[in-house]
Amino acid sequence: MTEFDSASMHSPKAPLWSRLPVVHQLRQSVGLQRGMLVAGLVITGIFILTAIFAPLLAPYGYSQLRGDDGPFGAQQEPGGDHLFGTTAGGYDVLSRVIWGSQTAIIVMVIAVVLSIFAGVALGLVSGYFGGWLDRVLVVICDAVYAFPSLLLAIVMGIVLSGGQSSLFYGILAAAISITVVFIPQYFRVIRAETVRIKAEAYVESARVLGASNGRIMFRHVLRNATRTLPLIFTLNASEALLTLAGLGFIGFGIEPSSAAEWGYDLNKAISDVTSGIWWTSLFPGLAIVLVVLGVTLVGESLNDLADPRLRSRRAPGKTSAAPVAPAPVREPAGRIEPSGIYGSISAPRVRPDGLESTS
């Protein structure tokens, strides 16, 4: 949030829970934006719960081919014992969809956490010290950023998996492939913020007081540079899932015996579609759409709320109990922060421009 909002919306003693990232935005939002945020949170919540309770929810195992009364049979229509039918390989579609949420969430978390650490560290060092290291890193990251991320993930997938497709290697390979794609995004954002913050008076004062570079970087700069991270985090989480599904779809999937993965199932469903079998592709596909939709709705709403130009405001008559900010100036003239996630006219390449998926 900008200093502007936190100053006007809340007294310094606002209760802790309302200052938590998402809760704060939820209270701040109105109308459509609140609806989108709530919908996103609900879908994301369901997704997380499904992943946690997959063993209880799924009627069968993800690699189970036969029940108590013999094999499931291939390409069974939905209904009866198999609510979503079975695949050409004889798996239960519903079970694989539910188990797939586990794979998805593990890969999303690993990918995003790894890329945040690597990207933030590189961006901080690069922006703070500047010089030739900075230039080299910027050129490299720009090159990687410009590259089709799916292709990069494919190359990484070849390198990392080297033919192995056990659960551990498969998931890790997918996660690291996605990480490499995201590092430049965090790098850019943190670097841009660091360059800006470095010039602030309080950094100068800290230096005059004799604080070490490390202390200034982590205590003064990093703390102030990370406020846009939750936005990129949510946007990237959805992108991570799309990349995972894309990788699975073109054959870097995790084998069905080691985990359930929606992209892999969709790949196996290509030939089914031609013969009119819809259930093997529809359900895993819908699962991807729903999860990406949920996470994106959250990210999108947070992004809009963080950008005064895009934030909807309460109509003057309908003030709620909370003190409402005096309608902010339309164009925040002194605001140095270049823009929301979309980039702006003045600084088109500083931020990752909007949602770029790999699929």
Partner: protein, 361 residues
Amino acid sequence: MSTVAVKPPVPARASKKKTGQGGGIGRYLLVRFLLIFPTIFILVSMVFWLMRTTGDPITAALGGRLGPDQLAERVHAAGYDRPILVQYFEYLGQVLTGNFGTTISTNRPVTEVLLTYGSATAELVFYALIVAFIVGIPLGLVAAYWRDKAPDAVLRVLAILWYATPVFFAGLLLKLVFSVWLKVLPVAGRATTGSELQMQLLPNKTGIYLIDALQIGDPAVVQDVLLHAVLPALALGLLTAGVFLRLVRTNVIGTLGTDYVDAARSRGVHEFRLVSKHAYRPALIPIITVIGLQIALLLGGAVLTETVFEWKGLGFQLIEFIKARDFVAVQGIVALLAVIVALSNFIVDIIAALIDPRVRY
């Protein structure tokens, strides 16, 4: 093209890029042009080193099928047992002269593969861009004009839905509905076998089927080619249209709030003209810039779309090579795509600079 100051001067900019005070467009273009080379160099090197960590391409491709002696012989013949640095510099030299090696699985020069299948991918990406423009930009204007009203709400949810739908899932759904259930469009491929045969016989075929079909001059062939392109273009184009919509909306909302739009409105300029000219034109620059980034997204999406529709382009071929573990070919295709992306970013930067003098820092 007059771009009135859209925003107050942005101080952040000046501190970020301090390359020269102004400088002419010539200087800017030169700097941008020179920047292409490190980009291509980094990407090509990265791909080379990453791919080589998996071992030499011959062992990777033929590992299980040949005995150790035969394998060593093949590796030696191809020069993969020399020091890796020597191979690296040789590879760089080859890339400079446009030689990307010979595929292991089909024993064809990679350059030839690229030329044969590249045209198919280019055709697909071109159609997809048309769909994205036709759908994305007008809808973005609508959403921006009726900001926070019903049309905006519907369109924004739609755009997020588009984004959330993986291009291959969209492709499968389109195929299911239009090809399998309604039977109005072909299931897969770029043309029927008959048309493809006719096009093969053309003396100066381009590989771009629409042009080839027009050369034949048979309306049936043209129709055939176009019908085959509808679904892949829709699948890939709608994905991009969602991005365009959001982008146009955000930027036009920004320009619609400016003083000169208010001024134009008070002079009685029609609302339609207000949106489509006054607010839209200045919003074009960020849109054009992002289109450059979309090329990368489109190429990635093309790989998936081609797989769904068996559209025999670079992406389809890439997957085939990956399956065959033919890493020379993979490396070549990836390197070529890197070059294309770098070049298209350069072109986009030039266009942006020509439109808006403020871009030339």
